[in-house]
Symmetry: C3
């Protein structure tokens, strides 16, 4: 694997999940693979889980890790081709990416969307330019429209916990006070649509995701109906795709509470974190037995380790 940016980069989904679970069983078995190899982690935005879990995965594989908070430690990046750089940007992404590619064997990069210009965000301009110019294998640490390491960890978690061969998985929109990217729900949806699950998406009218991420998914505006018989409920807020990046009024009653779980098949509740307590998800769920959010976060290590291991085996 030379690129891990979406589910489409994964030749065999089951094999990658199996590899992640093998890493979890035996974290230090492949330390020879990473010897004298360097992972660069480049952050254009904040990160806790991704930063720490990907670093840990690389250390488990014997790699060196170098971290760059581009916005705070490096230089303000210019992203437009042809720009006359007489403003506030100091370095073009063409140079920054190419230079980092000289220092690292594999690079992970995080770049959130601006949520202003949908076409630009959905063209993955920043991420794709970085990939193009850095010249080494790249792992997405969340891009404008996807968060594939999260989705792989989610699938690992579902695989570990499922009690039926083909579980019902529901992605449900949740309220929030800010406009959030569609990256996590887009990504989760496209992974679930390829996985061996029965997949339903529930959201208020107006929060339709871009259809290219949801082929074959059942989509409903009725949350309670969606939850019927669910084995896993993936809770996440996102802003509207149309009008792009907007929070629509109302829908506070979409916050999941324990009471709503009664109709499920003893569903496990998932969230990628960070979660706004009592806005996205009630305390009673997060502090109760249905929540698997910490296991999900823990599985980020094994998802990243499986991906890095695959990449190390090709360089």
């Amino acid at each position: 694997m030379k690129l891990f940016s979406s589910v489409h980069d994964v030749p065999d989904l089951n094999a990658l999940v199996t590899e992640a679970l093998a890493c979890k069983q035996n974290p230090f078995a492949a330390q020879h693979l990473g010897k004298n190899k360097t992972l660069g982690l480049v952050f254009l935005n904040p990160s806790l889980r991704t930063r720490m879990s990907t670093q840990k995965a690389a250390l488990n594989l014997g790699m060196n890790v170098m971290i760059l908070n581009m916005d705070k430690e490096g230089w303000a990046l210019e992203l437009q081709d042809g720009a006359t750089m007489n403003g506030s940007t100091v370095e073009h992404i063409r140079e920054a990416a190419a230079v980092l590619g000289q220092y690292c064997d594999i690079i992970g990069i995080r770049s959130f969307p601006g949520l202003k210009n949908r076409e630009e965000d959905y063209s993955e301009a920043v991420f794709n330019k970085f990939v193009k110019y850095c010249g080494v294998p790249v792992v997405s640490l969340e891009s404008a429209t996807r968060h594939p390491l999260q989705s792989l960890a989610d699938l690992v978690t579902i695989t570990e916990l499922k009690t039926v061969a083909r579980p019902k998985v529901v992605l449900t929109w949740a309220p929030h006070v800010k406009a959030l990217p569609q990256a996590v729900p887009n990504s989760f949806a496209e992974w679930m649509c390829k996985a061996d699950v029965d997949f339903t998406i529930a959201h208020p009218a107006g929060y339709e995701l871009n259809e290219s991420f949801t082929p074959g998914a059942a989509i409903t505006h009725n949350q309670d109906e969606a939850l019927q018989g669910a084995d896993f409920i993936y809770v996440k807020n996102w802003s509207a795709y149309e009008p792009y990046g907007r929070v629509l009024p109302g829908n506070e009653d979409w916050m999941l509470t324990n009471g709503r779980l009664a109709v499920t098949h003893k569903a496990k509740v998932m969230h990628c974190l960070p979660v706004r307590r009592n806005v996205e998800l009630a305390d009673d769920i997060l502090d109760g037995p249905a929540s698997v959010v910490i296991l999900e976060a823990a599985n980020r290590v094994w998802a990243a380790q499986a991906v890095l291991k695959e990449m190390l085996s090709t360089i």
Copy 2:
């Protein structure tokens, strides 16, 4: 040892000091202990000595180290239980701590007091919640009311330098331009009260420390009297405990200068650093032979290494 938050977590003070001095003699002797073990260092506030010395101690023990500047690289933390998180905080400490506990074998955390609400600060709400939810051994990198790695390094320094079996140690208040926490003096006091020293605290009226940290200490408002025959003088500013977090007017003449050392027993002058020159301590002391502040800072490595080594031997 599963927790290092105060002197009360140390079963045998002398043994820990002896271990620190052994680490100093032979820094790399226990590198097998840390192999494939990860120390997470989490900072909610700035740090120079603690950041670098604890990292160095872990590397000496063969550990991997992952650092998170929570405030700058991660997310704004919510600390209140039951909060409806519709404001500026993005992640609750319950999740943040629990997740970090999945990635780290031992965690160090620094969290300064707010100096607004004494009850909250003295309940060690942030530190204790972190300990409760992370689920792995925790080292305090300075909490609201204590700085135990500093105090251990201080005791190591006194042990190394003492010329009499039971030295006289004086903690003296010093002027400052800002309101500082009571963590360092509280902590130093409770360590000295348990150590084999003759311990005196000198401060202006109004700067009484919480009595639970000073059992058995001689306390005086007369600095010159306190300095008589002192072997070690520990200089430190702190704000008032009552009214909490306030700087009282006056007392600039409490700044120690070389002249005042004449009445001591060739006292060594200590300070945890950073020190405001010519406000807390005069240049002539810091640049003269009485100062041992750099040795004290150097001993931070061995204090941290002894604590981490103890913890590694229990996991």
Copy 3:
């Protein structure tokens, strides 16, 4: 080598370049040298290439690396001797340097000039105090008036690429929107004046560099004349030395484009990066075959590795 602050610290320029090229051929050959040795990287200013390449060089040598963003993670530094620290500075450089020297075997430090007080900047007050008080070998990561790791990488690049025994090297001023330090051109000039090259400096009237950095260099205000027959063109903006730190009006036509390269001897175009595209250098050069800026940045690793290796062999 105990200090790497300028070309004057290098006993044998050719030997150091040869060492850098040997490191490039065999990056991991000297990992025993760095075992249990710690490099501290201290940044008072942003850094991308220097941060990542020096870290990589140290890892190649088997060293541990600890990074401190002094301004963001540590404390605001006081630089004046004798200061009464009752303002915004929290720690004096005397203590900060001395303490870091206790934790590190070698320290690299970056400190840009203020561009306000020429005498202060050119006395290298900050860098020299750090060297004086830290007590361990120091590598400049760019100081007020020099950037020697960059210059060494530049000489390595020229050595690798030259097609004649004694190439013509031209340092040419370029336009910019901000007042930049003279560190890179000063440093490049003093290295070229000692190297086996034919060295010319071209700049608009008013941008004369301090003469102590340019002994023996040909200096002209005519860019086209300077470019005649050039093998290497080093493009860089700098602010005026007199009046100090000022940007003089005009001179936008000094931006290099492909058209101007016609008179050269198939010149390679160099720049230390970051570069303002279409202000300092036109897109057509940076994206064309003449540019060697990425190779130059890549060579930063081998320059740093050669210097660190020299230092490790003396401690």
